[in-house]
Amino acid sequence: SVTGACQAIQKLTRVRVVDNSALGNTPYHRPPKCIHVYNKNGVGKVGDTILLAIKGEKKKALIVGHKMPGPAMTPRFDSNNVVLIEDNGNPIGTRIKTPIPYILRRREGQFSKVLAIARNFV
């Protein structure tokens, strides 16, 4: 095939919204899917922003964990987790129960508000 093997989050991956926002938690007949990755290569890892299609709307989101194994000493989650975000980086929800990797703290400036609402760190 023309495209190489892709891992982590790319276009059309179904994703699990992890915060307590209304948009992420109300049931819909289609799961939220990624439609664009804001990256040079189309592969999204932890800390990348993506565009999601939820309930017929487009919303930006931040990847907080994926099923693909990363570098050693970093956690690997059993589902592709995502936190809904506005264009300026403010999270839409108010609480994140699921554990978030410590690596996100490196970009404290960009994601300070998301890290502030996170409860558990891994």
């Binding site: 956690p75 690997r76 989650f77 059993d78 410590y102 690596i103 558990n120």
Partner: protein
């Protein structure tokens, strides 16, 4: 003087029973555990490379205690993390796999936190690791517990604040013969196939499927002489070397 038995005849002298001396030091010596990453893999590499790696591994072990553990033990690992509060982060989980040889030896810990399964692959000889504690000693029926990803989450949840279960310090490590119940298929791997040789799952599949899975069995593999790798002599040599160095 001679004793008289109840019959009235003199009883034959019976010497007192010999005392059984339990030498605890000797018992400890008999129990040997050589960590699997010391055994070099089969190949044509120069043994000097493995010797140098072993020297570095022993150096690290002198400074930092790596306890004896198998797949199925529940461990708590504290790592140095600049982004964590108090600069140290602690993770508790069950060891599902031990891989790698030499200094790159790794082990994967799994736990389910807040309904989210998390797995972390730690490197044994990474200097970021500050402490490894064995919370519960328990071998399982298999060497590789990757099927826990497809099992019900209750089998992978372990309390983060659990207290270490007291060790008996006897010879045997207890084997937990737990048969795990799985989520409905599809699974990440077809665990019922004989290639994985898993004994720790309670397969609730119909017999037809189990028989179909046996089609992929390769019964000639265990008799294949070219695949044999006898590590007993290598283990003896390395055990002597390692134990001498660690005693210094």
């Amino acid at each position: 003087s001679y004793r008289i038995s109840s019959d009235g005849k003199p009883a034959k002298f019976q010497p007192p029973p010999k005392p059984v001396i339990i030498d605890k030091q000797k018992q400890k010596e008999e129990r040997r555990f050589l960590s699997p990453e010391f055994i070099p893999p089969r190949g044509r590499t120069d043994p000097l490379k493995f010797y140098m790696e072993r020297k570095d591994m022993i150096q690290r072990r002198k400074v930092f205690n790596i306890p004896e553990f198998y797949v199925g033990h529940i461990l708590a690992v504290t790592t140095a993390n600049p982004y964590a509060s108090e600069k140290a982060s602690r993770f508790v989980g069950i060891c599902i796999q031990r891989g790698g040889k030499g200094l790159g030896a790794t082990f994967v810990l799994r736990n389910v936190i807040e309904d989210q399964g998390v797995e972390i692959c730690y490197e044994l000889y990474n200097p970021q690791i500050q402490a490894i504690e064995v919370l519960k000693l328990e071998k399982r029926l298999d060497d590789n517990l990757m099927y826990l990803r497809d099992a019900l989450p209750e089998y992978s949840t372990f309390d983060v604040n659990m207290k270490p279960v007291s060790r008996l310090d006897h010879e045997e490590v207890p084997v937990n013969k737990l048969q795990v119940r799985m989520k409905p298929k599809p699974w990440s791997k077809r665990w019922e196939r004989p290639k994985f040789n898993i004994k720790g799952i309670k397969f609730e599949l119909p017999e037809k499927k189990m028989k179909e899975a046996q089609k992929w069995s390769q019964p000639w593999l265990e008799f294949d002489m070219l695949r044999e790798y006898d590590t007993s002599k290598i283990e003896e040599k390395i055990w002597k070397e390692v134990s001498e160095e660690l005693k210094k």
